[in-house]
Point group: C2
Chain length 243, copies 2
Amino acid sequence: MTYCVGLWLEEGLVMLADTRTNAGVDHISTYSKMYTATVPGERMLCLMAAGNLAITQAVWSRLQEGVVLEGETHTLTSVGSMFRAAQLVGAAIRSVYDHDGPMMEKQEVRFSVSLLLGGQIAGGPMKLYLVYSAGNFIEATPETPFLQIGEHKYGKPILDRAVSRATPLEDGVKLVLVSMDSTLRSNLTVGPPLDLLVYEVDSFRIRLQKRITEEDPYFRNLRDAWSAALRDAYRLVPAPGWF
Amino acid sequence: MTYCVGLWLEEGLVMLADTRTNAGVDHISTYSKMYTATVPGERMLCLMAAGNLAITQAVWSRLQEGVVLEGETHTLTSVGSMFRAAQLVGAAIRSVYDHDGPMMEKQEVRFSVSLLLGGQIAGGPMKLYLVYSAGNFIEATPETPFLQIGEHKYGKPILDRAVSRATPLEDGVKLVLVSMDSTLRSNLTVGPPLDLLVYEVDSFRIRLQKRITEEDPYFRNLRDAWSAALRDAYRLVPAPGWF
């Protein structure tokens, strides 16, 4: 399993991914699920992947080699807009499906992959997309300024309540870490270390990219502080007085 | 879908169920998923059900008619211990499976049901069980003093952090309502009104049984207060200072 979350804020993007992969509970490994393609001053794209690791790695390999989009071969560093970039990721998924899908179906392995693509290319707006297994996609909007893939349920309530377009980047970092913490506690197949990326709108370069280990003093402190804050929060809710 | 949660606390039991059932998103109804069997002064049992409504209603009907357990016909008001009561619920599920399972399988309808059974019978301890589709069951323990059925993920993080055996009953009521609130917000197939039951250990009678509507002033206030408390809580977490 996997948990990745992206925030599409007025100030920029916050992207966070766990690194645990598993094939059964007795075959657990650490793989980065975050990939970046940047041309400093011109573009910054960040991709996060959930699903079958053989598929997500194949998608990324094809994107690096170049994928044909409307007759021309492109990579994420050559494509002309974020919309085209999302189409390119979709085309890469379809190309992997054409190559591996039939054999996977024969062996009853589900063709399961989903990706979050966030970034900005000079001349266009900053975007955040969720690309599905079928290669089609949706994008974050002002009403829904965050997107999640993988094990999204445990970490959603805090995002539903606290994330808006106006959330500052630093608050966004806190919120995705809190959301991830809820997921780590409840699903063993989501695990540290974590990959964090922060992008400031119109900067066309990575503002912060950081691997956060379980021992990271800030993350440990945040987990404790959040647990304490939650316990205090419910105590502040008035009692029902029903009995 | 359904969300039911039971807390097994030193002071007693707190049981909460939603009432929404759906067969597709365009066929939504309200059904109580909470059933009680009490003999005041001698026993108090509360059952909450998730899964296929035809199965859960059939299980309850059979339990009322009487189910054969080791050669004797029993109901929840005649059975001698909570362990026997859990076995009786399991036997009722197996009896429904024997009657309807083969036809459901032919039509590829999953035989899906799970039940929470909480209560106490004079002479024995208070118990909380989760009974599976197969009719076998687990019980709450001091390390895991709450059990959930149905759509359990959204509402689990707060319970993981705040519920212990020592949680007072009134705090337990707040916590299950907060847990339900997170679920209601995120899954449309879990819906109000809610059925709440509170049982005080060794009392052998219902302390509180209450239907909570969306318009209930306390529940509305709790939802607002909890949202505000969560937003305040993440603001109290220190900033990372990474950029």
